[in-house]
């Protein structure tokens, strides 16, 4: 672990000022950053502790939505009465992730910024463009069973590991940030980026910007939702493929559909065409299959992860069925429905 200094920010503005130093990092729950520092993947010279800022509340947002403070822990968010009632998809995705201990510490803002679980990214003895730009991608031609099938580049095939973010993508959340030039709002779809030529950059946050809250639009899906996560064991494993689905069904017709995939790309994967293809249609397996094809258009394997294309296709179908039947996947049952 490298030497670093530590400061406790008294205000969001102070945190933003501290972030002017590109080698400074915000620390809140620390569940990912501390690991990365121990592995010498992250080498901040300064840690800016924001845990004393008043960002741990869940409040009404104008227009009927809800605003979730960046410091609300994953556990507090998942078990919040209002979230569990109005946004059960988000609760479910949170509970599909990590372990109870980690969820008690991890925060909403930190979850948005967690980094890939690519084996090579975590092992500084190996080449990795995301960790060390220009060193090469070991996963291409290497061990890539857990890697991306969509939106990857020749420089990086890492995936974003978050479950929460997949639900936030389907819920069309908006990320509120404060920065040197003031506050701005970033739609979830634009928050994470694809690796392209600069895989070292995960998000569209600008230098010095601090996430302050996540806003959810008014609830739209009732009980027609699910978060289906497929992985190598039933808990404490990252998704091989996960699917977040929210449907609004009226009179046997899908009025609104939102779908996002996790574990398949550098960001939660959405495709408006796939959602539009469901809207105005009946919730049938055939329509689900067509939506899956659209959502997976352009999917490409790298050897070990070829199976993910077929697995994702099947998982999308299953998730849409679960959502349509209002029988969301349980995160406590010891089984997949």
């Amino acid at each position: 672990m490298n030497r670093f200094s530590y400061v406790r920010a008294a205000s969001a503005a102070e945190a933003v000022r501290e972030l002017a130093d590109p080698a400074a990092r915000i620390i809140a729950g620390g569940t990912n950053l501390l690991d990365l520092m121990k592995y010498a993947v992250e080498k901040p010279t300064r840690l800016v502790d924001i845990t004393h800022l008043p960002l741990a509340t869940i409040e009404d947002a104008p227009g009927g939505g809800v605003r979730i403070g960046a410091l609300v822990t994953n556990a507090a968010l998942a078990y919040d009465d209002r979230i569990a009632r109005d946004y059960p998809l988000l609760s479910s995705a949170l509970l599909a992730g990590a372990s109870p201990q980690l969820r008690n510490a991890a925060t909403t803002g930190g979850n948005l910024l967690q980094r890939t679980r690519c084996y090579y990214f975590y092992d500084p003895a190996t080449p990795c463009n995301k960790r060390e730009p220009g060193s090469g991608c070991s996963a291409i031609g290497g061990l890539n069973r857990i890697h991306a099938i969509l939106g990857a580049s020749e420089n990086c095939i890492a995936t974003h590991p978050s479950d929460m973010c997949v639900a936030l993508a389907a819920l069309e959340a908006v990320i509120h940030v404060e920065g040197p030039d003031g506050a701005r709002a970033i739609p979830m779809a634009d928050f994470h980026r694809l690796p392209g030529d600069s895989p070292e950059i995960d998000t569209t946050l600008r230098q010095g910007e601090l996430i302050t809250s996540v806003e959810l639009p008014p609830p739209a899906f009732g009980q027609n939702h699910t978060y289906l996560k497929l992985r190598d064991r039933l808990s404490y494993a990252f998704a091989l493929v996960s699917v977040a689905v929210g449907l609004n069904i009226e009179g046997g017709t899908i009025k609104k559909a939102r779908m996002a995939l996790g574990g398949v790309a550098h960001k939660p994967w959405r495709k408006p065409e796939a959602e539009q293809a469901l809207e105005g249609q009946a919730p049938t397996l055939e329509n689900f299959g067509r939506a899956a094809e659209l959502l997976l258009q352009g999917a490409r394997g790298h050897g070990h992860n070829d199976f993910k294309i077929e697995l994702a296709r099947r998982a999308i179908g299953r998730a849409l069925s679960q959502a349509a039947e209002a029988r969301p996947q349980s995160q406590t049952d010891k089984r997949i429905r």
């Binding site: 679980r117 003895a125 190996t126 290497g142 077929e310 697995l311 010891k334």
Partner: protein, 750 residues
């Protein structure tokens, strides 16, 4: 000597809670990295980034300049240690040249320890370790067993204690060619790492004058002690190894590991106390279950009688040692076939040497054999249990010896009944509930019931308390508890009057704890020592003036509730405290050892057996497998403590579920490096993966296998479990999975 009191005592055979349970749950039980020492230094290991080659230059200046750093050890400045290989060869070492940390500039495997940074604090050592810069001259490496099969060889030197493959019987090839029903398949099991909860660690306490007390994570305090004395040229009087508690090991604590060497080296050189603890990632640079590729051929008559068994295996080993385990022999042992042949080969890889991991060899070989037997039962259209019964071996054909006991038939019968085997349809893909296909499978399990010469001391004090001492280890298996039970019954004492000391090299001699031999070996030694104390106590009791036992034959006196009494009249007797006081004894002490009966072993062999039944539910569309029920019926001789015994089997079954479905150390062959070296990416089962596990112990009387009739349980729970699951998956889906672990991608076959 076995007598009625021992078998029908109050404690042996009763489900007792762990006597060390409270210490463990309150944190009072200390593990190797938890022992305090004055002005303790901390060592952090720098691991090689390349797999093979040489260290061209190693720059330690920046690290040494860090505040708090005391020394950076590398091959360039290490103190000299023993010259000859045999000095480094521990009790369990395979043939070859054991790895010597910091020996020279040669890199032999990825992650090899190449420097030790020692500092006043752990944080300073870790920070400085990141500043050690290494220039390598890399060389080509080979880590892919598939590409080394042409180079495979029969190990020229056999590993001590490991039976080589049996001699062929009949003409297996010809019988295979002639038989009407046959199959030949390849089976694979991935590399697995032990991953006990407690990472390897050593705390060396510098006592001055070259004397060391060493707290090491080890399954053999005396094995670590003799390694240290041999390598560093120390006297046994100057080195005590104390490891009372071990947070799981599964075999990874058998060999002295490199953190022991490094901590002792630094302590001797710096004349300070030193602790070295491996990170979880660094524990992946220790031994592992080797990647093994097996071919099994079975041929039978239409009535199911086996005509030919051929079992070949090739396993990876390191360049510098020929690690060997018993993989193929089980196929000549479990079933009776007139024609059989066996082949076991090794191939050199640029990795560290593999090591014993729970039921070494048997987990692999029995998986392949029992999966093949299931395939044969399908070919024959015969119930898998019936096929096994038709080929039941009443005699060990490998060694041409009788079994000391073998209640495997009862395991099949009782296990099948408990499991509800009769509800199984014979056709694959014929059972379904909702989206899930249901499958039922079974397999046999077998492990050698070994006993090793072991000594123990029993000390009865004037206050009527008994202390038991033996150098063996309790790695979480319940050894403290069962030894207390044996001792309490031997001297008729309540359990709380017995204390047990283990894991200390100064205690009576014991081999490493392993191979499932500890209960039989240490248990028999404790029994013998207690019997001697009892003899002395009763003799003293009869000699007391006015003793109510004066003219009573020894065999009519019983010890119960802390008193010596005439068997028929409990009123006529003496409290132990009164006997001790009357005889003027502060203590009665005896040290005895127990060993396997050489005469019995000329004609007999002991094996533990099991029948494992698995129910799986497979969501075929999504490739998700749930192991919803396991019944494991075990025949292991006398069960001293059904509670800790059951826990051993539960743990073995859970590990077997991991082997079947999850565990795999991923190797990047381009880099020659294990890549999922942490508990997030190396998957062992979590609670959510585990459903009903039912353990039953079949009654088995065996007075030959060990003096106390015990066979041991550490291994048998895992053997057969993976095969039962793979067979159940076939029954559910019709798909044969011959390559472990059976992950989602393999089920969906995409």
């Amino acid at each position: 000597m076995l007598n009625a009191e021992h078998t029908q005592g109050a404690h042996v055979g009763a489900p007792r809670s762990r006597v060390d349970g409270r210490l463990k749950v309150t944190g009072a039980a200390r593990y190797a990295a938890e022992f305090p020492a004055d002005s303790l230094l901390h060592g952090v290991i720098v691991s090689s980034a390349v797999t093979r080659g040489k260290i061209k230059r190693i720059h330690t200046g920046d690290a040494k300049a860090q505040p708090g750093v005391v020394e950076v050890f590398t091959h360039e400045n290490r103190p000299s240690t023993a010259w000859f290989d045999y000095k480094y060869r521990d009790e369990t070492a395979p043939p070859g040249s054991p790895f010597r940390p910091l020996y020279d500039d040669e890199i032999q495997f990825s992650g090899q320890a190449i420097a030790l940074v020692v500092a006043e604090t752990f944080e300073a050592a870790r920070a400085a370790a990141m500043l050690v810069r290494v220039e390598y001259t890399p060389a080509d490496h080979a880590t892919n067993l598939d590409l080394q099969l042409d180079e495979a060889y029969v190990p020229p030197k056999k590993r001590n204690g490991i039976k080589p493959p049996p001699k062929p019987r009949g003409d297996a090839e010809a019988a295979f060619a002639a038989a009407p029903v046959k199959l030949q398949n390849e089976y694979r099991v991935a590399i697995e790492h032990h991953n006990p909860m407690e990472p390897h660690a050593t705390t060396v306490v510098w006592k001055g004058g070259g004397k060391l007390t060493i707290h090491d994570k080890t399954q053999g305090s005396q094995n670590s002690q003799s390694y240290v004395t041999n390598v560093f040229g120390l006297s046994a009087d100057d080195v005590e190894v104390i490891s009372p508690f071990v947070g799981g090991a599964f075999g990874s604590g058998l060999r002295p590991q490199h953190q022991l060497f490094l901590a002792v080296m630094a302590a001797l050189q710096l004349e300070r106390s030193v602790r070295v603890e491996l990170t979880r990632d660094q524990t992946f640079t220790l031994g592992y279950r080797p990647c093994t590729i097996q071919q099994v051929s079975l041929a039978a008559n239409r009535d199911g009688k086996l005509q030919s068994v051929m079992h070949n295996a090739t396993a990876g080993t390191s360049r510098f040692e020929d690690y060997q385990e018993v993989v193929v022999n089980w196929s000549g042992l479990l079933y009776d076939s007139p024609n059989a042949s066996f082949d076991y080969r090794l191939a050199k890889l640029d990795t560290y040497t593999p090591s014993d991991m729970r039921a070494p060899g048997a987990t692999l070989g029995v998986f392949a054999l029992e999966a093949a037997m299931d395939e044969l039962s399908c070919e024959l259209g015969m119930d898998p249990i019936e096929l096994r019964l038709r080929n039941y071996a009443d005699r060990d054909e490998n060694d041409d010896k009788a079994f000391t006991s073998k209640e495997l038939r009862a395991c099949y019968r009782q296990g099948a009944e408990r499991f509800g085997w009769s509800r199984r349809s014979s056709k694959p893909r014929s059972m379904r509930e909702g989206r899930e296909l249901i499958g039922m499978g079974m397999a046999s399990g077998v492990w050698e019931a070994m006993m090793q010469k072991t000594a123990a001391r029993a000390t009865l004090t004037a206050d009527g308390k008994l202390e038991i001492a033996c150098a063996t280890a309790d790695i979480g298996t319940g050894t403290y508890t069962i030894l207390a039970q044996i001792a309490a019954d031997a001297l008729g004492l309540p359990l709380e009057r017995v204390s047990v000391k283990l894991g200390d090299s100064s205690l009576p001699k014991s081999p490493v704890e392993g191979g499932s031999w500890t209960a039989a070996s240490a248990g028999s030694a404790v029994q013998a020592a207690c019997d001697s104390v009892k003899q002395a106590l009763l003799t003293a009791a009869r000699g007391l003036e006015g003793s109510p036992l004066a003219n009573v034959d020894l065999d009519r006196i019983v010890l119960r509730d802390g008193r010596a009494e005439v068997a028929a009249h409990s009123s006529a007797g003496l409290a132990i405290e009164d006997i001790m006081r009357g005889a003027g004894k502060q203590k009665l002490e005896a040290e005895e050892s127990a060993a396997p009966s050489k005469t019995a072993m000329l004609t007999h062999v002991g094996y533990t057996h099991s029948a494992v039944f698995a129910e799986v539910r497979v969501d075929e569309e999504l490739g998700v497998v749930r192991v919803t029920r396991i019944v494991n019926a075990v025949a292991a001789g006398k069960i001293i403590n059904p509670k800790t015994a059951r826990s051993q089997i539960l743990g073995g079954v859970v590990m077997g579920i991991g082997m079947a479905l999850e565990e795999e150390t991923l190797v990047d062959h381009h880099l020659g490096r294990f890549m999922n070296h942490n508990l997030a990416e190396y998957h062992v089962p979590v609670n959510a993966d585990i459903h009903d596990i039912d353990v039953l112990f079949v009654e088995e009387h065996d007075e030959m296998v060990s003096p106390i009739g015990v066979k041991g349980l550490g291994e048998i729970g895992i053997v057969g479990t993976a095969a039962a699951i793979a067979n159940a998956i076939h029954h559910a889906t019709g798909k044969r999975m011959r390559d472990l672990p059976i992950t989602i991608d393999k089920i969906i076959g995409a």
